[in-house]
Amino acid sequence: MYRVRLPVFEGPLDLLLYFIRRDELDIYDIPVARIADEFLAYVRLMEELDLDGVGDFLYLAAVLLHIKAQMLLPRPPAETAEEAPAEDPRQELVARLLNYLRYKEAAGRLDACAEARRRLYTRGAAAGAGNEEAIAAPPPLAPVSMLELLGALRKVLERRVHPPDHTVRREIYSVEAQMRYVQTQLQQQKRRSFAALVAGQSRGFVIATFLAVLELARQGQVWLHLQESGDDFLVELTEALSVEETYAAA
């Protein structure tokens, strides 16, 4: 048994960046032929799992295949290091990757701001209770009639009638909800096998739970232990290990 952390990708560009990082590739000299094959394998897995957003991945897969084809064409003989990049078919893709990387990095910096902000607590529901009246009174509500409440309900009902069954089913389980489900389960029992977490559940439930487990693993909230047989794995709560402990344990 060993511990792994599984990445979850935000999209095709993110997946490409992952390959580059994992293989320590030079971003300017991506071995497109090899990466394209691996990329396609991942897309096939996505299709197998029936994940949303496969279309976005297919588009980039096509771009990669196109570049691969272009690179197979014979190059002009003068291949000095300086001239080649200008005509490199990978150029546009690299520019896009780098641009995406900028915002990914910016997202990380924003997250650090939010992290610092989250440590500063405001008065929340207690604010406004300064006056003699009720303690912790929730904010006053703008008037709403029963009619509006019913109108809202009708909208839900209408929406329910139209979509075909499988679409509705697909939306039943959100990754967010399943993350909470997994967390709740693990709070009762710190370590559970994945099979036990999804026993007797529908395909949609299993897929959403699987993705939820991946996301929790990525966030470092759970460890995954592969079992020797390879057909199941254990999910274990990390109990908010500090960074040092995480590395010490690895």
Partner: protein, 211 residues
């Protein structure tokens, strides 16, 4: 007070801890609750006397330094509240009225007619995640957690509150109007079995048929 650091945290002075807790608390906190929270964070439990002494010391400092709030004893606990001389000013500050968005209304309607109901069920009916709506409706005290379901994962059960009834001018849940649209929908042959089952349980006499 000895301040062991069993949890790896450097304890702050107890007075500051009490002030911080009362500052963010949504309800009055008892001496025991404050002592327990302190213990969880820092591994040692202050005595009741220590907590009470800290509260008195804080009130003295507030008075001496001209603060406009005091720690008051209220309903068996302690809370921070403003002093009377500032209330003429505060009367002019009204919290902005919270408006119920379509999302909140939808979620509230489903809960009202199908309570007690779990989040997965609400998500299922709405076809979208209701995380935000549930949190917000709880903040607005229109819904509350009423228990836990016995189904897988033991999800929380939600129901409406007294404030919900007051807000919509109802005496009891029995006063919730019937929906003629429900009957119409029921008679629509297009509707699938599952929808039928779902809609059916809106009828008060069929409430026991909810999952």
């Amino acid at each position: 007070m000895p301040q062991h650091k069993e949890k790896g945290e450097v304890a702050i002075p107890l007075m500051q801890g009490i002030e911080a807790l009362l500052f963010v608390a949504d309800v009055p906190l008892s001496v025991e609750e404050m002592a327990t929270l302190w213990e969880r964070a820092y591994g040692t439990r202050p005595s009741s006397e220590e907590v009470k002494a800290a509260i008195e010391a804080l009130n003295r400092v507030y008075e001496e330094t001209g603060r406009v709030f005091r720690i008051q004893r209220w309903g068996g606990g302690y809370r921070l509240a403003t002093v009377a001389p500032v209330s003429p000013l505060l009367q002019h500050y009204k919290q902005p009225e919270a408006k119920l968005s379509q999302t909140l209304l939808e979620t509230l309607a489903i809960i009202a007619y199908r309570q007690p109901i779990t989040k997965p069920e609400i998500d299922h009916i709405r076809g979208v995640n209701s995380d935000y709506a549930l949190r917000r409706l709880q903040e607005l005290e229109l819904i509350t957690v009423t228990g836990r379901s016995d189904t897988v994962g033991r999800p929380l059960l939600y129901g409406t509150t007294q404030r919900f009834l007051e807000y919509f001018g109802l005496n009891s849940l029995n006063d919730l109007p019937e929906l003629p649209e429900l009957k119409q929908l029921l008679e629509n042959p297009e509707i699938r079995q599952e929808h039928l089952r779902l809609l059916y349980s809106f009828e008060p006499e069929n409430q026991e048929s909810t999952a």
